[in-house]
Structure formats: structure tokens, C-alpha cells
Amino acid sequence: MTIPQVSIFVSNRPGRLNAVCRSLADAGINLLSLTLADSGEFGLVRIIVNDAPKAVDVLEKSGLSATITEVIACPVEDKVGGLADFLSVVNDLQIDYMYAYPSECKSSTNVMILRFHDTEKALATLKEKNFKTLSTAEMLG
């Protein structure tokens, strides 16, 4: 199972992240996770929300360019070394990821969002090893 992530292009200027969050808030969109990557002049805001297509629509209406990418949400055990253990397994499976970040999840477990180079392959491999992947609905609890 994959979940949609929204990536938004923003200029590296004061108030831009605020503008993104405000437009989403005004449209009643719930944020589960947000991560920011920046490169001096511009940045990418990546978010997991309850309604990704609506989020893109809302953002475009407020003059921002956004796109949807499928990512994988994996539950991680809540204990010391939980994330390390999980990533070791991913490493052993030889499925490469480009970036990863934690997300809120309404059902109790901790969740890592991973963007794999080859999402299809990662999904198949994880399934084969009986790893659970979450849907947006499951994350919303």
C-alpha cells in the first residue's frame, strides 16, 4: 500500500511556509506530517495530509506549484533502537530510499514515511517479508 505525499515548491523567503500552512488550514485540510528540504534559493515542502488531491487544488489556487508522489508509510516499534532495527532490515533487503521522515499516526504506532527509488519493488519486497504498510485512512485512525 502506498500513500500520496504532496510536494510544494516554495521560494526561500520569509513567510512562505506559513502561506502553505495557512491555505491548507483555511481549506480544513489536516496535516499529519511536514518536512522541509532547502537549497539556498528555494525549498520543497513535503506533506502528508488527509486529502492530497484537494490539498494540491487549494495550493494551486493560492498560486503555488505542487505535485503528488506515492510514498510508503511503515510502522516502527516504539522502543530504543526501533528505527535502527527497521532501517537495518530495509538495508538488508537492498531497497534504496531517497529520503525518510517520521509522521504522526492516530493509531498508536510510530510511523516512518519513506520515498523509495523504486516504489513498486520496495512494496513487493516489504510484502514478501510480511512488513505492514499503512494507508492514509489507517494513519488517520
Partner: protein, 445 residues
């Protein structure tokens, strides 16, 4: 893309087009007669032209042939600024029925005036241009040139009305509404600045509207130089045929010249506007076929006759006859204005080159702006490019790659190093729907 093949039905010579096909001898005769009247009017009624001619020792009666036009002194934009607002008017204000003005971003605006007859001539030249491009009275036309002081909106509007088309005077802005009306009103033709139409294409796509599936068949575009690449882009995306209309407020506004169905240069409406090409450095006249600065004299304007106006547009008068058979001469499409030329570390740079480079890199036409600055005593050229939805990726390295691709493509064409900055959509300024392409913050020595 639609076929550009000759279409007998569309290219039939209608009675209203007769002036475009006047026998050449008759045309020259008419031009001389009108030029002499214009010179006389300017000499007698406009102090600036009077003083300049006296200074040069020229009298109106010295204009005996069209070739004698070289005896007349030049005029330029500065003259309109210096005589702001009504200094170049040749008639009493009671005869002036319309004023237009530039946006005046560089200080005082320039002001132009029209008598009732001037307004009629203006509408007629625009109409002749529209007819030459296949527009007919049956068209429903959406006019997204800016209405107001800018000559574009109301100028083209007058031509559409004279043609008898159904005009949708929507003006610029509110792009989603533009797309909605284009669809709902069954619009068959459009008019406006090409850069704004590119924006409409973009928004239509986002709204899930495919312009190529609508009734729109042709568009008339002008008010800013646009590249052949931009024309191809517009035509491929929308399936319309895009035509170039030329003009400048100082002369009349849009309608000084226009393409025809052949799209092989811009026919100047020579019975009202007399074109010359001069060397921009020496100001010596250049023969047909040679590239230089376009100089225009009005032949029938009464409110504000203009003699030998230096347009700053770089072009050439074509030597060969157009396939359409019009006897009025053509100039090459304007790719560049000497005003727009940037000299960057000794290299001549034109905004149109940057447009070509961006199209080459991404096969898309993002909105862009050129910013010149001085950093550590070095002049820098920065190209700001708006990132559209299609260009966004979730991967930072993809975005950096996009930046590099633009940079590489521009540097290959210009031969100098540039900075490319990716910007948010709609973050770069636009005025009157006209793209403001160059900002120069360089320290002047």
C-alpha cells in the same frame, strides 16, 4: 499543429482589402501627397518639428519626392516626454476625442491623442490586419489586451468592432474566468499579448480544459516581441493559428502593420504609415533587405503627426513580394528592440534569446525575468524562472537538475555565465499583461 497551407476561401480578396492591393505607382503617389500634407501640418502647428526643420534649413515645400523624406529630422520617445502632455498635438483640444498614455514606469508617461478621423483610420487599419489574418465578422472574439490608457485593448477593440465581429471585452487578468468564458461563449478567436495567452494555456490545463478542443481557431498577438519558438508553442498546445500584429502607441497603437495568412513578415499599412530602415549608429538610410532600425512617419494622423520616429525596433524591409499579392511592403517580424538589448560584459544579449533557451531546455514556456546587478564589481545576469506544476518534483536533486538544465541551455546560447533562480508561480511582476522582462540594478559608472 494546423496546416499553414494556402486556403482559397480564407484568402479571397474582399472589397475591404482593396487598399492593401493598390497599384504600387498609385500607392507612392498617395504617400507623397499625404507626406507633404503631414510635413506642412507638423511644421505649421507643432513647435518641436518647426524648430527642428528650421535648424536643418528644411521647408515643407522641399519635400518634392518620397526620397526627400531623408531631409526631415528624426523624432524619438524623449521628444514625447519632453513635451508632456500635449506639446506635440497639432490640433485644438476640442478636436481631440481620445487620449492614451504609456504606463510611465520610467517617469512621466508619454501621451498620444486622436481626432475622430484618426480613430476611424485606426479602426480601419486594425480591421485590415484582422481580415488579412482570416478574422471575419462571424467571429466571436475574446480581447484580453488590457483596456484603459494602454493603446492595446481599445485599439484592437476598435478593429474588431469595425470588422463587425462579436467582441468579448474581457481585458487582462482573472485567468480562470477567461478560460470559462472562452468555453461557454464559444469564442472562435482571441487577441492579446502572447505572454498572457501562455498563462491562459497554463491555467486552462490546470482546470482540465483543452483549448484545442474548443472553437478557438486563431489569435492576434502583439504589444511585445515574441519568438517563433513561442508561436510554435502556442500553436502546438492549442491548435490555433497565431498571428503577429505590430504597432506602437507613438504612431497609432496596434495596427501599424500586421501579418497576413502567409505569415512571412508584417505588412505595413503604407497608405497611413511610411516605413524606412536606418543604420542605428549613423542614422543613414539602408536599402530594402538590410537590417537596421525601423523609422516611421505618420501620413494621415491629424491630432499628432509624427515625422521619422525612431522605433528602436530592429528589422528589415523585405525586398520580395508577398505570396498574398499585397502591394504594401513587409518588414521582418520584430525579434528584438535596440532598447531591450542588454550589453553584458561586452556581449549583446536579447531577452528573446533567453526565451529560446528556456524552450529548448524544458519544451515549456515558463514566465521569466532578467535581473542585472553588480556584485563585487562584477556585472551579473540572473534569470528568474517561475516553476509551474509540471516542473515540480518531490526530489531536491531533480529540482537542482532543472536549474542546471536552464543554466546550461542559456549559457550555451549567450556564451556568458548566468545565474538561474527558480521562483514560485506568479511571483514575477507583469504589467498590463505585458511581460516586464528586464530589471537593471547595475551600478552605473
Amino acid at each position: 499543429m494546423r496546416s499553414t497551407a494556402w486556403n482559397d476561401e480564407e484568402n479571397k480578396i474582399l472589397p475591404e482589402m482593396a487598399l492593401d492591393f493598390m497599384p504600387e505607382e498609385k500607392l507612392r503617389e498617395l504617400q507623397l501627397q499625404r507626406l507633404r500634407a503631414t510635413v506642412k501640418l507638423a511644421y505649421e502647428k507643432v513647435p518641436l518639428f518647426h524648430e527642428r526643420m528650421v535648424e536643418k534649413g528644411v521647408k515643407p515645400e522641399d519635400i518634392k519626392t518620397l526620397k526627400d523624406i531623408v531631409k526631415i529630422p528624426f523624432s524619438m520617445k524623449k521628444d514625447l516626454r519632453d513635451t508632456y502632455p500635449y506639446g506635440l498635438f497639432a490640433v485644438d483640444m476640442s478636436e481631440v476625442v481620445r487620449l492614451h498614455a504609456s504606463s510611465g514606469t520610467t517617469g512621466k508617461p508619454i501621451v498620444v491623442g486622436y481626432t475622430k478621423e484618426d480613430m476611424e483610420v485606426w479602426a480601419q487599419v486594425v480591421k485590415r490586419g484582422l481580415l488579412a489574418c482570416g478574422f471575419r465578422s462571424t467571429d466571436i472574439v475574446q480581447n484580453f489586451y488590457g483596456y484603459g490608457l494602454f493603446t492595446g485593448g481599445l485599439g484592437i477593440h476598435g478593429g474588431f468592432e469595425a470588422l463587425g465581429a462579436t467582441v468579448v471585452p474581457i481585458s487582462g487578468g482573472n485567468t480562470e474566468r477567461q478560460v470559462m468564458l472562452m468555453k461557454d461563449f464559444g469564442v472562435t478567436a482571441v487577441g492579446g499579448t502572447p505572454s498572457y495567452f501562455v498563462r491562459i494555456i497554463d491555467v486552462a490545463e490546470k482546470m482540465g480544459v483543452d483549448i484545442s478542443k474548443l472553437n478557438v481557431k486563431r489569435g492576434i498577438f502583439g504589444a511585445e516581441p515574441w519568438s517563433d519558438g513561442m508561436r510554435d508553442y502556442i500553436e502546438e498546445k492549442t491548435g490555433i493559428k497565431a498571428y503577429d500584429i505590430y504597432g506602437l502607441s507613438e504612431i497609432v497603437g496596434p495596427g501599424v502593420g500586421c501579418e497576413c495568412e502567409c505569415r512571412d513578415g508584417i505588412h505595413i499599412f503604407e497608405d497611413h504609415f511610411y516605413p524606412e530602415i536606418v543604420d542605428p549608429e549613423t542614422l543613414e538610410p539602408l536599402p530594402d533587405g538590410e537590417e537596421g532600425e525601423l523609422v516611421i512617419s505618420t501620413l494621415s494622423k491629424r491630432a499628432m503627426p509624427i515625422l521619422r520616429y525612431r522605433t528602436r525596433d530592429i528589422t528589415a524591409i523585405e525586398k520580395t513580394k508577398c505570396k498574398c499579392g499585397r502591394t504594401i511592403r513587409r518588414i521582418r517580424r520584430i525579434g528584438r528592440r535596440s532598447d531591450d538589448m542588454i550589453i553584458m560584459r561586452g556581449v549583446n544579449v536579447f531577452p528573446s534569446q533567453i526565451e529560446t533557451a528556456l524552450l529548448r531546455a524544458e519544451k515549456a514556456l515558463p514566465h521569466y525575468q532578467i535581473v542585472l546587478d553588480t556584485k563585487n564589481n562584477m556585472d551579473t545576469l540572473e534569470v528568474k524562472v517561475e516553476v509551474s506544476r509540471d516542473m515540480v518534483s518531490d526530489s531536491m536533486s531533480d529540482m537542482e537538475q532543472l536549474n542546471k538544465k536552464f543554466k546550461h541551455s542559456i549559457e550555451q546560447i549567450l556564451g556568458i555565465s548566468v545565474i538561474v533562480t527558480l521562483c514560485e508561480p506568479d511571483s514575477l511582476p507583469r504589467s498590463e499583461g505585458k511581460a516586464k522582462r528586464v530589471i537593471d540594478n547595475r551600478k552605473k559608472i
